[in-house]
């Protein structure tokens, strides 16, 4: 366990603050320096809970794992704009519309922070975009579900962003410096996302019976896909063990999933909405809630490309990329023209 970030369930911003303080404190500790062997030095930095920086030696597999993970994370932010973008023009008020716009804008920003962090590992932004467009790198399968009603904006903010936050707060302590620092910035901004989703649901749940029913329907549809966001059960998780040893991952999929469930139960009560699980109950022995696992066969199907919206999401991304080509070309032409020395032939 690292500090007290997993014992008490404190507020998100407190946890991010703790992680940032821990980063600074570790930076100010003297680690064992002077090892000639790069692997020994690398292991020493990790053992001291300090950060690996871009120009440090690192094992090839560590670099590859980070590129894969940060890229998937960046792609998720970019694709994740689509389900919410779907409701910008139909938000129920100008206030809600401005908020939703700001949120989708944040997702784009988060994607860019993460692409920048990935580029420090020696892969280019163009390559990463290409890998996404060719389907050779993945994004989070949660974004392959449709957003059918306005209440889905609330469910995404509360459950999807809530699950993402539970996953991401430990990443603020990741062993790779640029990723850890990007995650601290992202998590601070995510707090607004989760709260605005909660507020949308709270408003609907305390509105007319039809509005309440709409909020409940959204929770019914998003609960299990949100649980699946934590990935396969520990026993079937292929990358976990090595990532834990490298300090990239801090907690297992099942531990994080449990934490999310424990967090949501009380929040659902405040909302006055029901989590769709008849088996959900506090286990007096463990102090945690027992719950029904999501359908992992469905998760595998969605990861393979057979979710409700996989093709639509990729087609939209490719179209947006192609239709934006003229903007990139025009900007480059303008820059080239301005770079010509004064007096050169026009």
């Amino acid at each position: 366990m690292y500090g007290n970030d997993f014992g008490e369930l404190s507020g998100l911003l407190d946890q991010v603050d703790e992680a940032e303080k821990a980063l600074v404190a570790a930076a100010h500790r003297d680690a064992d320096a002077g090892a000639d062997d790069p692997q020994t030095y690398f292991d020493g930095v990790l053992a001291a809970d300090q950060k690996i920086e871009p120009r440090d030696w690192m094992p090839d597999a560590y670099r590859k794992t980070l590129i894969r993970q940060i890229a998937q994370h960046a792609h998720s932010e970019i694709i994740g704009m689509q389900p919410e973008g779907n409701w910008i023009t139909r938000a129920p008020s100008l206030k809600r519309k401005a908020i939703l716009l700001a949120k989708v804008q944040d997702e784009a920003g988060h994607g860019l922070y993460l692409y920048a962090a990935a580029e420090t590992l020696g892969i280019s932004r163009d390559e990463l975009v290409q890998l996404l467009l060719e389907g050779r790198q993945k994004y989070s399968s949660i974004f392959n579900y449709p957003t059918l009603t306005w209440a889905d904006m609330g469910a995404i903010g509360w459950l999807v962003d809530g699950a993402a936050i539970v996953n991401q707060v430990p990443l603020c302590r990741c062993s790779y410096g640029p990723y850890a620092r990007a995650m601290i910035r992202i998590c601070k901004e995510e707090s607004f996302h989760q709260r605005q989703g909660f507020e949308i649901l709270h408003t609907l749940a305390h509105g007319t019976p039809a509005q309440h029913a709409m909020a409940q329907d959204a929770i019914d549809r998003w609960w299990y896909p949100s649980l699946a966001m934590f990935g396969p059960p520990d026993a079937d998780s292929t990358h976990s063990e090595q990532s834990m040893a490298w300090g990239i991952k801090r907690f297992s999929n099942d531990d994080l999933r449990q934490r999310f469930v424990d967090m949501c139960v009380g929040q659902a009560e405040v909302l006055g909405l029901r989590l769709p699980d008849d088996e959900l109950r506090l286990n007096a022995e463990t102090g945690h809630y027992d719950y029904t696992q999501p359908d992992f066969d469905e998760l595998m199907q969605v990861i393979k490309g057979n979710g409700p919206c996989n093709r639509q999401r990729m087609a939209h991304r490719r179209r947006a990329h192609d239709e934006g080509a003229w903007v990139r070309e025009a900007a480059e032409a303008y820059a080239a023209k301005r770079a010509q020395p004064v007096g050169a032939a026009a």
């Binding site: 980063l23 607004f192 507020e199 929040q267």
Partner: protein, 92 residues
């Protein structure tokens, strides 16, 4: 002719970002690094240095500061404190 100006960024400790500390003059990048080391890290202030040609930096204009940063001023809803958290709701 005086040698070009280089802006200097120092990473104080492993795990922290490079931070701007000042500038040096030097004829080339290697000399700029050595000068920066001698000027800014004599007391072990850093573990890594970046030097960037000052001419390569484009800065926003102080005169246009207000108009430039204005768009963010009226968007209080970007902050979590804008949202009411109902009584009893924890971990939000």
């Amino acid at each position: 002719m005086s040698s070009p100006l280089w802006e200097v960024f120092v990473r104080p400790r492993r795990g922290l970002s490079h931070t701007h500390v000042g500038s040096v003059h030097a004829p080339d990048a290697d000399m700029a690094l050595r000068n920066a080391r001698d000027v800014y890290t004599r007391r072990q202030e850093g573990v890594s240095i970046w030097v960037v040609p000052a001419a390569a930096i484009t800065a926003s204009s102080p005169d246009e500061k207000d108009a430039f940063f204005d768009p963010a001023a009226d968007k209080v809803y970007r902050h979590p404190t804008f949202y009411d958290v109902p009584e009893g709701a924890k971990h939000l």
